[in-house]
Amino acid sequence: MIVFDHVTVRYADADEPSLRDVTLEIPEGELVLVVGPTGSGKSTLLRTINGLVPHFSGGTLTGRVIVDDHSTADHRPRDLATVVGLVEQNPVSTFVTDVVEDEIAYGMETMGLDPTTIRRRVEETLDLFGLTPLRTRPLGALSGGQQQRVAIASVFAAGPQILVLDEPTSALDPVAAEEVLASLHRIVHDLGVTVVLAEHRLERVVHHADRVILIDGGRTSALLDPAEAMADSPIHPPLVALSRLARWTPTPLSIRDARRRAGALRERLAAAKPTAGRDDGTSQRPSVLFEGAQVLRAGRPVIDDLSLSLFPGTVTALMGRNGAGKSTLLGTVAGQLTPEAGSVRVADGPTWAQPASLPARRRVALVGLVPQQPELLLYSDSVAAECAAADQDFDVASGTAAAILDGISGGLDPTRHPRDLSEGQRLELALSVILAGSPTVLLLDEPTRGLDYGAKGRLAATLRDLASRGTTVLLATHDVELAAEVADRVVILADGEVVADGPVRQVLASSPAFAPQVTKVLRPQTWLTVDEVAAALGRSA
């Protein structure tokens, strides 16, 4: 179906080729997962399939890419629209209309199909993706998962036999991600569509995949069996790490498979207990205090009667579905929102301060927030200029921010434009900017969007380091694995109220939806991460 024949891609102003001598043959009806670190050429590989590289992006393509017997050298992407559909990462930016139905029909309209076909296809596609009850909803009113499904549906409605998706679930919470993947699974198995997708969050996807392609530095492996690929791949989900530790073969890819093998491991671990190291700090004086707080947004209470304490030197993970009030809570601590009722206070030395009523300069010395889109914080045109501006903003010695950045990221090219950086690097830059002010409370809003495992690891290390030096860290996330790795305490919000609040082990292990993979496999024992298991095995061996 898709044939790469010694394909090398070099962009116009690049020194190095982005793809080197890729030769692959993807048969029909397979769900193929492309796995690789940031910058390895995943996006380029996906975009050569429908011809965006090189027709849209410029550059030279050596070799041939043949899609359903059409060569991309002879056909522009618009000509291949009925053969290959490409879904980008951020669906909202690709919507051209206002209503779900219209968006699904738009692609077909621009291609000039006749009205009867369009109507029929719209109905079929709505059914296939479970969007029929939403058909007249405005696009802006949908949840993230629904928007992603609409984006996929609108590309699919034109009838391509191949779907290419670039990180479709990176911005979604686990439940929404599962909806999207279930839709993809359905069209592969019921309709024989070929799906090629790239994802960082392997724990959600790898058990759906039929084949895996590993890519690094522009070179790809062959089409591998998923279990084989995961056995050796440097990028793997926690489950696979556990399986390598326990030496299970073949590598299990789903929780069920792993549990079937895990009996022996559970026995070995029965006597051991995870070493402490997670201290929820309740013995100290709180650094952030919510008392019966109510916060309104557009007149409606998003947070209602919320009471919560955060303690210095701890990392707290704030979890909950999208829309539960996580961002609002963080915004209130950062002083962007004022509570309508109740109080929100931050410890300022021996006294308390209300963040919303502090002047901006004083406030940022106390509380720092890295927003959901870190690029909104950045406005300079080079990394070095951004660090210098941060030093000025917070009135600190010049070079502070740059030093912090080096520590967090291991060194970024100071002349690069911040928008040219990868997601992980941008986050690190934004974090350095905020940390230049040495706030006592650090807030992060969904930092794991688009991060690969390496960047997440560096982030986890940074946060634990900050906590060990006494900073209060509050992290809003729906990445369970990161929470398991880094948090001391977990607070779960639903509809603006606290539903669970306790030590990480207690909350994550007891909740079916929010348990990390290792916990699910080793239930009823409460292990959170592979490192804990390894440490316990090392001790008991």
């Binding site: 000509d79 629209a81 621009t110 291609m111 369009i118 002083g335 962007q336 903003d393």
Partner: protein, 358 residues
């Protein structure tokens, strides 16, 4: 009678509004003009497009401001009209020699005020008709009916309309993000700091949109041939030249002024033809076209009736169509009033607009 809830074809309402505006432009009878404004308000309140904010009030306010403006200027600077009924007299301010054509202060007569009022009211009525057309058929819906030569321009407008609200909400987000770095977002310098992330984000998004449009087959349905384009270009230049020449002829009534109007009309037709010829759209697309049914035709007729009647009335000089400014109520031309009331009929027989679903 009216079918299931739907929005009428936008051209129907715009033609209706233009007909009524033509009627308003032919008369200065204040009763008729106020009646026209009333008809506009009535029809809009019954049948306006609920998905967009109502701009009619803005247009009416502008009209009211024009009336105020004219009246005040007339009071201060006087008018060419000499009237008998003097209302009051302002002190006359003497002016130097070079400004001798100006007259500040002096007698203010009722007739002069009435003249200014009638004239300004006409402008206000025309604006009300245009505002009503805006409210009944949002101009955004007209984008769908642009000729194929303007397909790309139309898409750019749609992209602009989609991005603008996002730009505004991004600006708000950046403003609160500025606070996270210790600034409170005031001052002109902050504007640059604000504009840069917002525009960078917009451009990044737009590139993604362009890639997505390209991948979804944008541009397949519209075909241009080099020959068609050349023909269109030639027609455009010739048509524009014709319009220029025609206008010149019209303005300067002495030099071949007879040629003015026909030349103008030919020029307009030729230029319009260039729009129609340059590209052809694949006729099969457009599954969401508004249908043109009898309600649309009748709506246009209801707008054309007052337009036609008043054109005839002003050409033939019926009494009361252009009343003299005298200190008495102007005569009421019954036929024109009836014609204007016909324009109110679409408030009833046209289909109700579909309410926007939550």
């Amino acid at each position: 009678m009216s079918a299931r809830e739907r929005l009428q074809h936008p051209a129907a309402w715009w033609l209706w509004g233009l007909g009524l505006a033509t009627a308003a432009s032919r008369t200065t009878n204040p009763m008729v003009l106020l009646l026209i404004i009333g008809v506009c308000i009535l029809v809009v309140s019954e049948r306006r497009d609920p998905s967009a904010p109502n701009p009619l009030m803005a247009f009416v306010v502008i009209g009211a401001m024009v009336v105020m403006f004219r009246l005040v200027l007339t009071v201060i600077l006087g008018n060419g009209i000499r009237g008998e009924t003097v209302l009051f007299t302002l002190p006359r301010i003497p002016l130097p020699e070079w400004a001798s054509f100006l007259r500040i202060g002096g007698r203010v007569s009722l007739e002069s005020l009435l003249y200014a009022l009638y004239d300004a009211l006409r402008l206000a009525a025309i604006l009300a008709c245009i505002g009503a057309a805006n409210a009944l058929a949002s101009p955004r819906r007209l984008l769908r009916y642009l000729p194929a030569t303007l397909y790309d321009v139309g898409t750019a407008i749609v992209v602009g309309l989609t991005f603008a609200p996002q730009l505004l909400s991004d600006a708000r987000a950046v403003r609160s993000a500025r606070a996270l770095r210790g600034h409170d977002g005031r001052g002109i310098r902050e504007l640059a700091r604000l504009a840069v992330p917002v525009l960078e984000a917009a451009f990044a998004r737009s590139l993604g949109l362009a890639a997505s449009m390209e991948s979804r087959g944008y541009g397949r349905a519209v075909r241009t041939t080099p020959r068609g384009r050349r023909t269109a270009s030639v027609l455009a230049v010739i048509g524009t030249l014709g319009v220029l020449a025609g206008l010149y002829g019209l303005l300067d009534s002495s030099v071949g002024g007879v040629l003015g109007l026909p030349l103008l009309v030919i020029g307009v037709v030729v230029a319009g033809a260039s729009l129609a010829i340059g590209a052809s759209r694949d006729g099969r697309s457009g599954h969401r076209r508004d249908p043109w049914t009898w309600t649309e035709t009748l709506t246009v007729i209801c707008g054309a009736v007052p337009g036609g009647v008043l054109v005839v009335a002003s050409a033939q000089g019926w009494t009361g169509v252009v009343p003299l400014p005298r200190a008495e109520p102007p005569p009421l031309p019954v036929l024109t009033v009836v014609a204007v009331l016909v324009a109110a009929l679409p408030a009833w027989f046209t289909p109700r607009p579909r309410r926007a679903l939550a």
